[in-house]
């Protein structure tokens, strides 16, 4: 009797999972998704590898919602689309004028969708960005993923994935800045064009250039592997380029609740990576170069803060800081308060290394 019972139980154990078996050989494994349009009239693009032809297939479909678009796309493929290997989502700059979460809900709700993936905003329609991956031998999503990761390492794009973006979309105290990409002139490559500023869940329409984006990331104290800044040094009627790489940043914010003023002190330690004039061992040259970089960075900090406040885009997370450590100053209508704050940056640059030359 017991033996029979055990056998029955074991056979049930073997049965479990059959209903939920999903084999990659029976699916079109999508690695890149593109979204255009708005609620009620979305257009979606799905790129998946065609191993026989050694290239990527792109399927296009229309629908009233992102999920509906996928259903419509399934009607056009020989094997159902499977997004479990998705690595990048591209969204057009027009689409993100509407709340971003509307198109992301399906990725958070369905556990089969990965959430540690990249997301970027494209200049204009998504279609040409998806189509340029057609002839790639590797995965289409992998191309954009590698592209964004390398730009993150150069401190142009912030380090973000879908989960961190989703988390910030729900917070009033911090805004997102998503990677913004353009097509190259020959339309064959993607180009990092800076970051798209958001206020709440919607795109403000303002783009920070790569240089401004780097400055924003320095303000956020998030320098990545390389954070290079280049300036022209004018000396004795000659111009000479200087490139400095940020090594460390020390940041201190002092809040005056009554005046609604934040003094933002930054100490930036840099290494000189390019300076053909040399002779940095000479004190006057060293000090002049150091002062030049400091003045430029100071100006850039002021400019970027002005843009961020003007767009009510709190990408620095000043709201988070104020809510946590100065709760009396924090109010529900944070974006308006943020825009009216007096943000006073003060930058001190220190050259701590000069490479292997003096």
């Amino acid at each position: 009797m017991y033996r029979k019972g055990i056998m029955l139980l074991l056979s049930m154990l073997l049965l479990a999972g059959c209903w939920d078996e999903r084999l990659y050989k029976n699916a079109s494994v999508v690695t890149l998704v593109g979204v255009d349009g708005y609620i009620g009239a979305y257009k979606g693009y799905y790129a998946y590898p065609n191993t026989a032809a050694q290239q990527n297939e792109v399927i296009e479909a229309d629908g009233i919602s992102p999920r509906d678009v996928r259903n419509q796309a399934n009607l056009k493929v020989e094997q159902t689309l499977d997004l479990s290997e998705l690595s990048t989502i591209l969204v057009s700059d027009q689409t993100v004028r509407e709340p971003l979460y509307d198109i992301l809900d399906i990725y958070f709700r369905d556990p089969q969708n990965p959430i540690s993936i990249k997301i970027a905003v494209t200049e204009g329609d998504v279609k040409p960005f998806i189509e340029l991956t057609k002839d790639l031998a590797g995965g289409a999503g992998g191309y954009y993923e590698r592209f964004m990761e390398s730009t993150e390492e150069n401190t142009i794009f912030p380090k973000l994935d879908l989960q961190t973006v989703g988390s910030m979309l729900f917070e009033q105290t911090i805004d997102i800045a998503l990677p913004y990409i353009q097509l190259s002139e020959d339309k064959k490559h993607a180009v990092a064009a800076g970051v798209a500023l958001f206020s709440g869940q919607t795109f403000t329409g303002t783009i920070l250039t790569p240089k401004q984006s780097l400055t924003m990331l320095l303000l956020m104290n998030q320098p990545s592997k390389q954070a290079r800044m280049s300036y022209m040094w004018k000396h004795d009627g000659k111009s000479m380029p200087i490139t400095a790489d940020v090594i460390h940043i020390k940041r201190q914010w002092t809040v005056n609740e009554e005046l609604k003023r934040i003094d933002m002190d930054y100490l930036i330690e840099v290494e000189i990576e390019e300076f053909a004039h040399d002779h940095l061992y000479k004190d006057p040259v060293f000090k002049e170069v150091q002062q030049l970089i400091q003045d430029h960075v100071q100006g850039e900090f002021e400019e970027v803060l002005r843009i961020l406040q003007g767009q009510q885009s709190d990408t620095l997370g000043i709201g988070r800081y104020i809510r946590a450590y100065h709760p009396k100053m924090f109010q529900k209508d944070w974006p308006a308060i943020y825009a009216s704050l007096q943000l006073v940056p003060s930058v001190q640059v220190k050259i701590i290394r000069t490479g292997v030359l003096r």
Partner: protein, 342 residues
């Protein structure tokens, strides 16, 4: 029933009862109700928990259940176990087995519990040892999320907001799940063993740290507005981690949690067995089978979103009655009458 417990077995049994099933989900209601103060409120709740343990240790001899209260607890455990199984089935259906019929999942869980409860009680008592390394893995993999944590989410703490603190304390009850079992199993501890003092404090510290990590991580990982949408935050944190050896870390841990929760169900079955057979019965095995038959049927009525939500939003009040108030009342009543557990 005749068995005895060592200190390690006793505390392991308690640890699994308290943490199984609820560990992946109890953070959400706590954070919703106590907001940024959740970590501090949980700290206060843990002090209360320790006080309760000390009280139980001092007066456990007076937890004598007469016929009526014996049936009250038998029915309570039956219903609680059914709810736990329903929740396990629901979570499995949401995360990994959406197409598998729910009754198969329930049958598997109940079948394992039935098998374990038809053999010697030592099987259930010792099976928890198997879980120690995998529970440890759970915490280690949670640590992968450290770079994504936002420390400022822990502040501001509203020390004076008594309403928030009270609401948080009540919703911390999920962490006290099954603590009344202390009174049930304490008399089975080998007689020369001491629990009060250092052993009890160590147990309290272990369970506090284990739970506290999960509360703090959830608070720092999710925005307050976001956590309201996420019923199993620990699973979500694990899902968002990228590792080289597996695409979806959450599936790996769902099964760890499942095995951990199945042992909890087994222990509830053992508790039923211990209490029911504390009086001599004619057909003990038949009653155990009947108990499991009910466990296989009842959860099927609950495995729906709205019903699960209703239970999650109200079960803490039931817990207050059966894990705190009723044991205290029974202890006080028996102490006054001088009636002890033999």
């Amino acid at each position: 029933m005749n068995f005895s417990l060592s200190k390690a077995q006793f505390f392991l049994l308690l640890f699994i009862i308290q943490t199984g099933v609820v560990y992946i989900a109890f953070q959400t209601p706590l954070i919703i109700y106590s907001q940024h103060s959740a970590w501090y409120v949980f700290f206060l709740a843990s002090i209360f928990h320790y006080g309760l343990l000390l009280f139980f240790e001092r007066y456990y001899q007076f937890f004598f259940l007469n016929g009526f209260f014996r049936w009250v607890y038998l029915i309570y455990w039956l219903l609680i176990t059914a709810v736990l199984i329903a929740y396990m089935g629901y979570v499995l259906a949401s995360w990994v087995l959406p197409r598998t019929p729910e009754w198969i999942v329930v049958m598997m869980i109940v079948g394992l519990s039935l098998y374990a409860n038809l053999v010697r009680p030592e099987t259930i008592i010792n099976i928890g040892v198997m879980l120690i390394p995998i529970i440890f893995l759970f915490v280690i993999f949670l640590m992968l999320a450290i770079p994504d944590l936002t420390w400022s989410n822990l502040f501001p703490v509203e020390w004076n907001n008594t309403r928030q603190i009270m609401a948080g304390m009540i919703h911390s009850m999920y962490a006290f799940f099954g603590i009344e079992m202390y009174l049930l199993y304490r008399p089975f501890l080998k007689q020369d063993l001491q629990v009060k003092g250092k052993p009890l404090l160590i147990y309290q510290l272990v369970i506090f740290i284990f739970y506290f990590i999960s509360v703090v991580f959830t608070q720092m990982f999710f925005a307050l507005e976001e956590v309201q949408l996420i019923p199993e935050p620990i699973m979500y944190i694990l899902k968002s981690q990228e590792v080289n050896f597996v695409k979806r870390l959450d599936i790996f841990f769902i099964y760890i949690w499942l095995s951990w929760s199945i042992v909890t169900v087994m222990i509830y079955g053992l508790s039923f067995r211990v209490l029911y057979l504390s009086k001599k019965r004619k057909h003990p095995k038949r009653s155990i089978v009947f108990f499991h038959l009910l466990l296989a049927i009842l959860p099927l009525f609950v495995m729906q979103f709205q019903r699960i939500e209703f239970i999650k939003n109200s079960i803490h009040y039931v817990l207050i009655v059966f894990t705190i108030l009723l044991p205290m009342m029974i202890i006080c009543w028996n102490k006054w009458r001088g009636k002890r557990v033999s």
